[in-house]
Symmetry: C2
Subunit: 116 residues, 2 copies
DNA sequence: TAAACCTTGACACAAGCTTGGTAAGGTTTG
DNA sequence: CAAACCTTACCAAGCTTGTGTCAAGGTTTA
């Protein structure tokens, strides 16, 4: 076998084996399988798993956000509808991005921030 | 006043007043205010509220998905990172979209579908 | 001033997500 | 065959989301 087992991959990527299965279930990774059904993680998978982690932490978003972004790529009608809805958003003078979106994209930190 | 109160807007859009406030808190709508602080919903707001409802129901996605799409429009570095991560996804032969994403984008229906 | 609105804030609760653990069973290898 | 892996399928704890309701208080208008 020229790939890693799920525990080895977990070790190297920082995800738990449990989470690797969870991520697969969500379609965010898709390792090969041995004939017996064992997952085999290749270098590509490892890289994407690490990058995914960086993405989530660096931008503070969730798995479902990444999943939705992927869905946007696939479903052009959804993409278009969403695009046109967002387009119709009235232009707010400025300084939109700070208060509003706390609590939607970063709600997790709300308590922490408020506790200072 | 040439706009509607929150209860009137709720009546006409199918959202509850509670939800209109919730949507505003999330930045998905942004009605004007009277000097005293009362929300004033114009025709544009009403239209977008109805369209939003159609979006959510028609494509079976959530408020946070729409919020994230909006965030994608604003944050180009997030957009690029996500784009390149998704780009690196290994090409799966076909038939990707059915099983995987149930449970991420449409997990709500899982129980229903399974119950048939 | 009293009725009928509106405001923000809090409490509450069901449903879903994230994550771990554990059980029952197959595979590989010494 | 036994140890040490792997698999799927459940149960569960804790947090987030979506939604209602209620309280305390300001505004408008008759």
């Amino acid at each position: 076998m020229d790939g890693l087992t799920i525990h080895q991959a977990a070790e190297l990527t920082g995800w738990s084996p449990r989470m690797l299965r969870y991520l697969e279930r969500g379609g965010l990774v898709d390792p090969e399988r041995t004939p017996a059904g064992y997952r085999v993680f290749g270098p590509g998978e490892l890289q994407r798993l690490r990058t995914l982690r960086e993405l989530l932490e660096g931008f503070d978003c969730g798995l479902s956000d990444v999943a939705f972004a992927a869905r946007l790529r696939r479903e052009s009608d959804l993409r278009r509808s969403l695009e046109s809805w967002l387009e119709s958003e009235p232009e707010r003078p400025q300084g939109v991005a700070s208060e509003d979106w706390l609590g939607w994209e970063q709600r997790k930190h709300q308590a922490l921030l408020a506790a200072t």
